[in-house]
Symmetry: C2
Subunit: 260 residues, 2 copies
DNA sequence: GCAAAAGTGTTTAAACTACACCCATGC
DNA sequence: GCATGGGTGTAGTTTAAACACTTTTGC
């Protein structure tokens, strides 16, 4: 063990959910959009940054796994259970917190849309549109930007969009998720081909009745193909949700800025 | 600050360099290969894992930046100065170290080939072929595997290969780096087109004389185009070396296993 | 039958691969 | 001149985008 004092370890999480995109009061929010990305923030009840909005998180207990601590603090503060959880980055700049050195291992999570609707909301917990946040505590604005970038690049080559949906879903629903995340229209025909050709979908044979038009088929994701080479994926990334959609792709760029 | 005890913070680095690929004594090493990936390891002088080989690193001082600590411990133990340094992942499993909870923020680094040749080597520092390592201390084998995977995916869409070379270089040299990292032959003609079309190279006008054949031209990398959106890349990734070679790509998979 | 979304087919362009071929130098 | 790697040209294949068209339901 070390002979000199070290920094304090914290764990925080950026949680994303899709909700009806009413730009309620937020300038610049797309009014007619169907779904947009939202995330829950908690109001700080202590200094520093008292009363500011911040990412849910907490100190890391000595006997708890990193991902477990992320899931726990997330549940305790917002009542949410993530369907997808992955380590994002570790922020440890000296100036992050005005009160001593804090190193934050940050995770990002996706929760199902229907669960997000039931999430605890109160004086100290509120949902915000991911693209129009107020100034947050510490360097949390930068962290959210990075998480957003990661989500948007990752939907294109993995099947994490699944985490926003239930067990079965229509191709239109899956496409809506992609469109909401990427903020652009996607050709339904080409999307269908791409996603079916990936071999990750299975036709359940069932359809959704009651629509004012042709009933769409329901699909399900294939179980983990285990085609991913063992010992070749980081801990929390190694789930079925990370099977490549198109081709195994690499990691891009990003640069937060401030501390916390 | 927290009321309960937290884990201890450490910083480690996986350092890669290209060296002549003599499979000296290592079974399975490609004998005729020109260049292969090597990395320096340090022998542990303390329990746990006394006398085992491990990644260079150390405890994080309270008043030092994460990346700075990585570069410092790297310099102190191996005498190397990295030309590229980026955060890899934070490993914090409960069982990583037999003596208390240790959370390691791991970086990966690239050093120039000529500098690697001058690196300090002794009883407690030795170079190993990256693909044929002995059992290392803690979970360091898994960490190296992850770093290797990250390097190999990232050379294909960024220009980090640059970090293995000097200021100017021939296309053949750049291609050799790619071939060594990816472990496969690359068509010289197509490689030339791809890399010149990316717009990241500048013809210096000079050539290398003294070769027993047509003298190759020398190239240089363009300065940072600043085309990368601000506040959209993680701290250490936001260098000129991460400008997309082909297209901005995302992040794949990997999964270490054991602790350390 | 009509509107609307599901689902199929075709056309075009761009990107990548393979490989034939010419160029410039030292010996 | 001749061997060798530097450098250019080009045809074949694959991938993806754009868009016209057919199908199936509720009303």
């Amino acid at each position: 063990m070390p002979t000199t004092a070290s920094a304090t370890l914290a764990v925080s999480t950026v949680i994303f959910a899709l909700r009806p995109g009413t730009g309620a009061g937020i300038t610049g929010a797309p009014e007619g959009a169907l779904m947009t990305l939202w995330l829950p923030l908690v109001r700080r009840t202590r200094e520093p940054y008292l009363d500011s909005w911040a990412l849910p998180g907490g100190w890391l207990p000595e006997d708890e796994e990193l991902a477990t601590a992320a899931a726990r603090t997330l549940r305790e503060t917002t009542g949410l259970t993530p369907k997808y959880l992955e380590q994002l980055y570790t922020f440890g700049d000296l100036g992050r917190s005005p009160e001593g050195r804090v190193v934050s291992v940050v995770y990002w999570a996706l929760v199902q849309s229907d669960e997000a609707a039931l999430a605890a909301v109160g004086e100290n917990v509120r949902w915000f549109p991911a693209d129009h946040l107020p100034p947050l505590a510490f360097d949390h604005n930068s962290i959210v930007d990075y998480a957003l970038w990661r989500l948007r690049t990752k939907v294109e080559y993995s099947r994490i969009a699944h985490a926003f949906l239930g067990e079965t879903f229509t191709l239109a629903q899956l496409r809506e998720v992609h469109e909401a995340v990427l903020q652009r229209a996607i050709d339904p025909a080409n999307f269908r081909r791409t996603v079916t050709a990936s071999g990750t979908l299975v036709d359940t044979g069932e359809s959704v009745a009651g629509t004012p038009h042709r009933p769409p088929r329901l699909y399900r994701y294939t179980v983990t193909p285990d085609t991913v080479p063992p010992n070749t994926v980081p801990p929390d990334t190694a789930s079925a949700d990370t099977v490549p959609l198109r081709s195994p792709i690499p990691e891009p760029h990003f640069t937060p800025g401030a501390p916390a």
